[in-house]
């Protein structure tokens, strides 16, 4: 599969977890991958090295996605180093949990800044610069349907991302660019396991009829599908990838 030949894919938050797996998968599909990171050049460089060692093409790019100027500079830098972004994967995000009664304003603002405004910033750059035939894939979350207590503000930022997804798909009419979102359920990343008891993890595994956690590769394959030829007719949608948890 080399449909990504001579095309550049940008993965925000591509240095760890699901983002790193998406970066590796799109590199395997033939894309030149720009691995965005906010603060962890070591992890981003490690992903780039792994891709290059496997015969792929990748480079790291720094930008805090909540900073519109930094995002514009990043797109410019990618166009200079490789080519204009043809596939944008908005994966960068933060998740902080607390009941609505208890969440502090600073935490709320930070989630909105990164998850919602950060996504908006890259979408705006992509909408201005992306060429004919491009693909945009945002990351939502199955919590927009699961709606567990304590996920309120996080789920709200992701529901907003789903809405931006559907509207941008319509605004890009005539440019042959699709815009979709992937909404993972619980996924086995370092971040997921942090602070969870074995019992809780066992219970979460039982949520899905497939009775396991999602793996980053499960999500990366959905992104790869949406970025590739078989996903061309899907547009403005959110694909829930959670093993049937909801």
């Amino acid at each position: 599969m080399a449909h990504g030949q001579d095309k550049t894919a940008l993965i925000t938050g591509g240095s760890r977890g699901i983002g790193a797996e998406i970066a590796k998968r799109l590199a395997a599909d033939g894309f030149t991958v720009a691995v965005n990171y906010a603060s962890n050049p070591g992890s981003a460089d490690a992903v780039v090295k792994e891709i290059v060692a496997a015969g792929g093409k990748a480079f790291a790019v720094a930008a805090d996605v909540s900073d519109a100027k930094a995002v514009a500079t990043m797109f410019e830098s990618i166009a200079e180093q490789a080519s204009e972004v043809a596939v944008l994967v908005n994966n960068a995000g933060v998740m902080e949990l607390a009941p609505i009664a208890k969440m502090d304003a600073g935490t709320f603002d930070r989630m909105v800044a990164i998850n919602l405004k950060g996504t908006f910033n890259t979408l705006q750059e992509a909408a201005r610069r992306m060429g004919d035939g491009g693909r945009i894939i945002n990351t939502s979350s199955s919590v927009t349907k699961l709606r567990q207590p304590a996920y309120g503000p996080y789920a709200a930022t992701k529901a907003a991302v789903e809405t931006l997804t559907a509207i941008l798909a319509r605004e890009l009419r005539g440019r042959n660019i699709t815009v979709n979102a992937v909404a993972p359920g619980p996924t086995a990343t370092e971040l997921f396991f942090k602070g969870k008891s074995d019992e809780l993890i066992a219970n979460i595994k039982k949520m899905a009829p497939l009775e396991r956690l999602g793996e980053p590769s499960d999500i990366a394959s959905v992104v790869s599908f949406l970025a590739g030829p078989d996903g061309a007719w899907i547009n403005g949608q959110t694909l829930f990838a959670n093993g049937g948890a909801i």
């Binding site: 319509r170 009775e211 959905v222 007719w233 899907i234 547009n235 403005g236 049937g244």
Partner: protein, 245 residues
Amino acid sequence: MHPRQKTALVTGASRGIGAAIARRLARDGFAVAVNYAASVRDADAIVSEIERADGHAFAVQADLADAGDTERMFDAVSDRFSQLDVVVHNAGIQLLGAHAEMDGVALDQLVAVNLTAAFRVLSRAARQVSDGGRILALSSGTTAVLPPRYGVYAATKAGVDVLIAVLAKELRGRGVTANAIAPGPVATDLYLKGKTEADLEATAARTPLGRLGQPDDIAGAIAFLAGPGGEWVNGQTILVNGGLI
């Protein structure tokens, strides 16, 4: 040792979207049972085409509005295939009419073919598909777009979405996923028949991608869900319509 060839049953596979799905799954390495109701010639042509491309396929007649035929089809598949890995229930009919006008016969036909037959196919598929397999059904984008005169048709397809979502949960523990694909307007012979150039252009203009869907667009989405990359998508209906609103 050579791994066992995977197998798939595609209903309503002699023409249009179903034929594209059969061809695609054969290209992806599945041995394909090509179900048809009446058009044996079309079904045989698909089988020959698959065989010419070094694939494996056979045609199996069954009118899925008939419960006995449905059982016979699955029996024929189990005679030919030692295991059944994928079922794609594509067969369906489309009859249109405003609520004020639609007659009872059309209503009964739509329910019998699109909903009751779907239930029977899914029910038997749930028993016959091997662990780790996939069950897929064709829904319709009209369940989201809700055009006038599509009421009963869209209602039967919304019924399919619900059956699929519930089935996915009932298959817990077997590693079998169940999903639906909901296409928008697809340029099949059936769809193009009787439509003017202006009708087609107007529909194409309503999708942000500015064209009608092609059978291969739908087959691509089915291939993903039937393949290794689609395992983690379960219990969903995916709208595949180019963003039509």
